[in-house]
């Protein structure tokens, strides 16, 4: 890449905050492991968003102070959390009925790869991975009303992760609605990836260089 870098990629927390900005009051939201979990920290407390955790919590609050830990209250990432007023508990079967029945307004997940047709790959880096960790990802990807992905725009080696077709095993086909990376926000549309936001200084051309799928305005 000959061009001079004129932009600053978003740091993890800034990226989480960028996602949080787009979540409206009243939505019920599940946050996956990793950067998605941080998103909850950036939804202002006066904006009521209801956070769900697959292990049977609806109305999850932030992490407790270290001297206020309730060891019986963990989220799906095994982290200690709190409840907000209005919260409720449910069993795993009821919790996943909620997920699979299309009742979550949004699920924010991480990804290895996303394709321009909305295919998501986030559980295995190889067809030969015969003992992977799936957790609730397939249920969430197939079940939530909207899937937003937070991911790095490219691999550490600079290979694109926003592809024409995923090369890793799919989590779910055609489920992704929007992708947030450290460089841009893209919607998955019938025509492919539509760029709806970029970090200051970024150009479509520079973004396209880092993206295998075709970008549109």
């Amino acid at each position: 890449m000959a061009e001079a870098v004129k932009w600053q990629p978003l740091a993890r927390d800034a990226l989480a905050a960028r996602v949080a900005q787009d979540i409206p009051e009243g939505w019920s939201v599940n946050l996956g492991i990793g950067i998605p979990t941080l998103v909850g920290n950036y939804v202002p407390p006066e904006r009521e968003v209801v956070f769900h955790s697959e292990n049977g919590i609806l109305g999850m609050g932030p992490a407790p102070a270290s001297d206020k830990i309730n060891r019986w209250l963990v989220n799906a990432s095994s982290q200690y959390v709190t409840l907000v007023p209005g919260a409720s508990y449910m069993s795993h079967s009821d919790s996943f009925a909620l997920v699979r029945g299309g009742h979550l307004d949004l699920c924010v997940l991480g990804a290895f790869q996303v394709a321009e047709n909305g295919d998501l790959a986030n559980w295995a880096r190889s067809e030969d991975d015969n003992a992977p960790a799936i957790g609730g990802a397939m249920d969430l990807a197939a079940g939530a009303k909207r899937i937003w992905i937070v991911m790095e725009h490219t691999t550490r080696n600079g290979e694109p992760r926003l592809l024409k077709r995923c090369t890793y095993p799919l989590t779910a086909a055609g489920c992704v609605k929007r992708v947030y990376t450290e460089l841009a926000v893209l919607d998955v549309t019938e025509r492919g990836f539509a760029v709806i936001d970029m970090v200051p200084g970024m150009t479509i051309e520079a973004l396209q260089e880092r993206t295998e799928g075709k970008l549109h305005r």
Binding site: W72, S91, H92, S93, R100, E127, A131, A133, P169
Partner: protein, 229 residues
């Protein structure tokens, strides 16, 4: 008088046979019936099929059961994951069979076993590697796959409070897989942190009615272990 309490873990686990399918509740060690799992290790049944959210972490509990070569097959949503060292060794040696499944599909298959539903269609996993070998079918333009019920011979669960009929109440996120697993086995065994008088648990708050529970043992296990990092 109905009194499902027994005096020891050994008595609670008496008679579990080799080859049994054992549903083991708990999520991230919360609501996990550790005394019963340890008791099952003591009890000696082998060739087990275990259904649990993970393939075990660390060296205790389900991991130890696997490490001792007692599990022929495990059904779980997290196989290789942080701390799954024992499973990975045993699996690498080809000494355990693995059925990996989405966590919601796992919960729903168990619920189906509890509810008299031999099979159902779900969108989870459709079009993925996990759909291989499964019947696919289109409903209303969307692809679903057929998943079959999981039936437990035994379920091991942990309650917060229990009365002598086997009515159970859970604590916070300790509910998780407990109610659905309790309902899906021929022999459901619960360890409970506290004992309630009959009639003390509110009819509105009982999460597992006693009809699903066969044996109870009082184990004041205390809080789940503290997670660090």
């Amino acid at each position: 008088m109905i009194d499902k309490f027994v005096r020891s873990v050994a008595e609670a686990l008496d008679g579990i046979k080799d080859g049994s399918t054992v549903l083991i509740a708990g999520f991230a060690q919360v609501g996990e019936p550790r005394a019963l799992i340890d008791g099952l290790i003591e009890q000696g049944a082998k060739d087990l099929v275990v259904v649990h959210n993970t393939a075990g972490r660390g060296r205790e509990g389900v991991a130890r059961l696997i490490g001792e070569g007692r599990v022929r097959k495990i059904l779980c949503s997290f196989a290789r994951s942080r701390g799954s060292v024992i499973f990975e060794e045993v699996f690498a040696r080809g000494e355990i069979e693995l059925e990996i499944l989405g966590q919601g599909t796992m919960a729903e298959r168990i619920r189906a076993g509890a509810a008299g539903i031999p099979a159902f269609y779900t969108a989870t996993g459709a079009g993925t590697k996990l759909a291989e070998g499964k019947e696919a079918r289109i409903f209303d333009g969307r692809e679903y796959i057929l998943e079959h019920a999981i039936y437990g011979d035994v379920a091991l669960v942990e309650a917060w409070r229990a009365d002598r009929w086997g009515n159970l109440v859970y604590r916070d996120a300790g509910r998780n897989f407990n109610p659905v697993m309790a309902a899906a086995a021929k022999l459901t065994i619960a360890q409970t942190q506290h004992v309630a008088e009959l009639g003390e648990l509110s009819p509105e708050e009982i999460a597992t009615p006693g009809i699903y529970v066969n044996r109870l043992v009082h184990i004041d296990a205390g809080d789940p272990p503290l997670k660090t990092g």
